[in-house]
């Protein structure tokens, strides 16, 4: 049963470093939490409001208290065991979700701080690292896993540095030329290690490849289906199913000839949306490339300003503020004066604050 405790001013409910097994709700009075901020080393005093929980994280996560809870005015506190706390929040979904949000915000903040510190060590390129994992599996003779990783690489970075290598590796796996545990051959390894493992594609393997094409490429039927597919992808995007949406946009972009002008417009839209997908996945370099291609391919598009604006946003997210401003400025300067021009102007003002 939850119990009620009364505390006099000056008393301590728990000390930093104490074993944590109780959770508290302040019913009335004044309680502050004292702790040292990890990154700045500053002393922090956090006042608990009436009705607020405290001591949750350490009790639920089963680690020592990270702060000292000090009573400043006569206070009434409801004390719960971890089990009682769990029963209580299970019955009160809104409280549970609210806590989840508060904690996820904290986690996001700390996670970001950790990453910033870690990146000071050595920056890692996700694209390169993804490829390296494929290489690891490939060299271990784990064909299925290698295939998965190479395909993912080609999906996310079709024009990436290692795209060609991925393709030839996949070909090697498909043709069965791929051998488990390739013994190292020193002389050749120094010059051309890749080709040695893959071996040149024979006529036979090329035939197999053409036969298999329809299966792997999933051509999008012409006409009405392109439109339907496009809207399906938009809907997937709004449901946060970004990868699935990207797949459709990429399929649309592979079509060489459209049945009419109206349908061809969807290639333009798909290219733009693909850029937005990359943005959503925080793959800013890829997003910028996609939008830049968009601008090159569809220079008369009425989404031109949006594409420039988005590039600005990508640079802003990458903390390349000068470039961000340059792109926003392009939007501002571009007639006619529309809502997006004003938006770009405001964006510049925001970025300048960060400089």
């Amino acid at each position: 049963m939850p119990t009620i405790r009364n505390y006099a001013p000056g008393s301590i409910i728990y000390f930093e470093g104490d074993k944590a097994d109780e959770i508290y709700i302040l019913q009335s009075g004044k309680v502050v939490l004292n702790y040292t901020a990890i990154d700045t080393g500053a002393e922090v005093n956090e006042t608990i409001s009436n009705g607020e929980f405290f001591g949750v994280k350490s009790a639920v996560g089963k680690y020592p208290r990270e702060e000292t809870a000090q009573v400043l005015a006569p206070s009434v506190v409801l004390v719960l065991s971890v089990e009682e706390f769990e029963q209580m929040v299970l019955k009160n979904f809104r409280v549970l979700i609210k806590m989840l949000k508060v904690f996820s915000n904290q986690l996001r903040r700390i996670g970001k701080a950790v990453r910033e510190k870690l990146q000071q060590g050595e920056p890692k390129m996700p694209a390169t690292e993804l490829f390296n994992i494929g290489e690891y599996y490939f060299k271990q003779g784990k064909a299925e896993q290698a295939k998965y990783v190479y395909n993912k690489y080609l999906f996310y970075y079709p024009n990436g540095e290692f795209a060609e290598t991925c393709k030839s590796r996949l070909k090697a796996i498909e043709s069965g030329e791929f051998r488990i545990e390739q013994p190292p051959q020193p002389q050749i390894e120094e010059t051309k290690p890749e080709e040695e493992i893959i071996s040149a594609p024979s006529v036979e393997t090329e035939q197999i490849e053409t036969e298999e094409k329809p299966k792997t490429e999933k051509p999008v039927p012409e006409g009405i289906d392109v439109v339907k597919k496009f809207y399906e992808a938009l809907s997937l995007f709004s449901q946060d199913k970004i990868q699935e949406a990207m797949e459709i946009y990429k399929n649309i972009l592979e079509i060489k000839k459209f049945k009419d002008e109206a349908t061809a417009q969807f290639a333009e839209k798909a290219q733009f949306e693909l850029g937005r997908c990359y943005m959503k996945l925080n793959m800013f370099a890829e997003a910028i490339e996609t939008f830049a291609n968009f601008i090159k391919k569809f220079e008369r598009s009425n989404l031109l300003k949006d594409a420039l604006f988005n590039i600005g946003q990508c640079y802003e997210s990458m903390e390349n503020y000068q470039k961000a401003i340059n792109f926003y400025q392009k939007v501002v300067n571009m007639p006619p004066k529309e809502a997006i021009n004003t938006k770009a102007k405001k964006a510049i003002e925001e970025v300048q604050k960060k400089l």
Partner: protein
């Protein structure tokens, strides 16, 4: 199958994987997270050209949950060990599903509490200046995780490779090896292939503690 999850939920959000199949791969962009309904998965990471198993998870476990917070690339690879059935969530359907499964929301809450602590602890290591202090603090943190009392003069086995320690300290591997060799030379640790034996954890706890006190001033 996990109790309380009807077939209709699986129809809508379910996915099936065969043994050996990759569910997602380290460094892949992330967007969704998973609840295991049946079967086991292996969480792995490739460190220094070796595949290391970090954890095995089974029915009721959640993985990839960091994707709801931030779309950072995946930090580990998940491979199906047996035939695996999972529910796939993303930010969109997340709250909806939690609503019908408060137990799962609670589970997530617990994971977050642990994660916050772990992240804070790691940040504490990184606020120390000097490679030797960071390495010492990794030992202390690992001892804490094993529930070892920090004032006890005991041996502690740290199951980490030099690469992993270097990663946790955000220092180059060479620097890390230099520090480890120095500690080994002084007889404070034994350096083995895949692990480090700390001879007296209290000593390292004191080194770190004093360094922190200095920062505070």
């Amino acid at each position: 199958m996990l109790e309380g999850f009807g077939d209709n939920l699986f129809e809508k959000y379910g996915k099936r994987f065969n043994p050996g199949e990759i569910i997602f791969c380290e460094y892949e962009p992330s967007n969704d997270f998973y609840l295991i309904l049946s079967g086991n998965v292996r969480i792995t990471k490739i460190v220094g050209n070796k595949e290391k198993t970090l954890d095995i998870m089974g029915p009721g476990d959640i993985f990839g949950e960091m994707a709801i917070l931030e779309q950072q690339p995946r930090s580990a690879t998940v491979i199906a060990q047996t035939e695996v059935k999972v529910l796939v969530f993303n930010r969109e359907n997340f709250e909806l599903i939690l609503q019908s499964n408060p137990q799962m929301a609670l589970k997530l809450l617990k994971i977050f509490c642990k994660r916050i602590y772990d992240a804070k602890r790691q940040l504490m290591i990184l606020t120390l200046d000097g490679d030797e202090y960071r390495v010492a603090d990794v030992f202390v943190m690992m001892a804490e995780k094993q529930g070892v009392k920090l004032d006890s003069h005991t041996k502690v086995e740290i199951k980490l490779t030099p690469e992993e320690i270097a990663n946790m300290c955000a220092i180059p591997l060479d620097n890390c090896l230099k520090v480890l060799k120095q500690y080994a030379k002084l007889g404070k640790i034994d350096l083995l292939d895949n692990k480090v034996i700390v001879n007296n954890i209290a000593e390292f706890a004191r080194i770190v503690h004093n360094k922190r006190k200095l920062i505070k001033k």
